[in-house]
């Protein structure tokens, strides 16, 4: 039987990593812009003292919350997708790769929600832990 007749191994068929690769680059590019804006706002915007009152005011600012929500979600996506890429380098089986991806999505979504509870507490007019 010639090489041409053998067909492709099963692992060659199925979805690839095109979207993960594209989103990693897009999130990286947006993160650079968000991070620069975040640093500029922290150093030059409003009251720069690191005390409870000024932080409270900052967390009631819509622009700051939008930027930090973006940083939180995209930072987590970028970091966890990077981690997935590193682990996949070690020849995981197709099933193990799927389990890894699912676990990282769950971790990412949970951490985004957990981070958002802190970010949005003052915007909602409540204290950090409902106080």
């Amino acid at each position: 039987m010639s090489v041409r007749d053998q067909g492709q191994p099963a692992w060659l068929v199925g979805p690839g990593g095109a979207m993960a690769w594209l989103l990693q680059r897009l999130s990286g590019f947006i993160l650079i812009i968000l991070l620069a804006t975040h640093l500029l706002l922290l150093h030059y915007g409003g009251d720069q003292q690191l005390v409870f009152a000024s932080v409270t005011i900052r967390l009631k600012t819509l622009l700051f919350i939008i930027i930090d929500t973006g940083l939180l979600a995209l930072g987590l996506y970028h970091g966890l997708n990077g981690l997935r890429n590193v682990v996949l380098d070690y020849d995981l089986s197709r099933r193990a790769g799927s389990v890894l991806t699912t676990v990282l999505w769950i971790v990412g979504i949970f951490m985004t929600i957990y981070g958002a509870t802190a970010l949005y507490s003052f915007w909602a007019g409540r204290g950090v832990f409902g106080g």
Binding site: P9, V13, G16, G17, M19, A20, W21, D89, D91
Partner: protein
């Protein structure tokens, strides 16, 4: 007549110390380096050096070679910490009086400087390294625009020596990764305007053991004795895979 009877005298000549990796599984499990003093001349190549040792010092030394003009890819070796073709590398270019010669790293050694290239060829076969057409074949020949041919210029220079495959950290950790040489050949056929198997080809390289394992480390580009930019080809395939997701060709 023993092989040492014709050995040239070293007196008055430039001499290099040559250390060569030795391993013979039929006699021992241990690998070691053998050293020889070899008279060198101005235009002597690493392959000439190996022939000198084979003829005058040790007739059991195993190494691969064929064309002696950097076109067959048989004699790729690791010389003084760099991937080189033995036939193309002149000793004077090494600028060293001590020369260390090892087989291609990260491949199973069969004997001395000969490595098992089966994994390399297996990946090469997987990418279908030949023109695939759907339409009837032309009566005489496939005509191609010179501008289209120019797009493949870099890739058709590959002589399949395996230096890039041996140098790639992804090939070390993922035995299923296609590797730079196979992906360069894949790109050669995806940019070929005569090839009509883009959809099938995308399935082969757009997966977690295909182009997405390349993290643009550039070891392959540095190792290539033919100065091919493998990373460019792999990135081109990545862009093509993304384009296909959005309905592109």
């Amino acid at each position: 007549m023993s092989i040492t009877d014709t050995k040239p005298q070293l007196k008055g000549q430039n001499v290099a110390t040559v250390n060569i990796f030795r391993y013979d599984p039929s006699t021992t499990d241990e690998a070691h380096y053998d050293s020889w003093q070899v008279p060198i001349t101005g235009s002597m190549t690493v392959l000439d050096l190996l022939f000198y040792i084979l003829e005058h010092e040790d007739g059991s030394l195993a190494f691969r070679y064929a064309c002696r003009e950097a076109i067959c890819g048989s004699c790729a070796l690791y010389v003084n910490g760099t991937y080189r073709l033995a036939c193309k590398t002149q000793l004077k270019d090494l600028k060293a009086t001590e020369i260390n010669i090892s087989p291609l790293p990260h491949l199973k050694v069969i004997k001395d400087l000969v490595v098992d290239m089966d994994p390399f060829w297996e990946k090469y076969e997987r990418i279908r390294p030949y023109l695939i057409t759907r339409d009837d074949l032309p009566e005489k020949e496939f005509l191609q625009d010179p501008a289209d041919r120019l797009k493949m210029d870099d890739m058709v220079d590959c002589i399949l020596c395996g230096a890039c495959y041996s140098s790639c950290p992804q090939c070390w950790t993922d035995p299923e990764y296609l590797g730079p040489a196979a992906l360069v050949k894949m790109n050669r056929f995806t940019v070929d305007t005569r090839d009509q198997a883009n959809q099938e080809r995308t399935k082969i390289f757009d997966n977690e053991h295909g182009v997405w394992r390349c993290h643009t480390i550039f070891n392959c580009v540095e190792a290539c004795p033919k100065d091919i930019n493998q990373t460019y080809s792999i990135q081109h395939l990545k862009r093509r895979a993304v384009a296909r997701r959005f309905g592109g060709k």
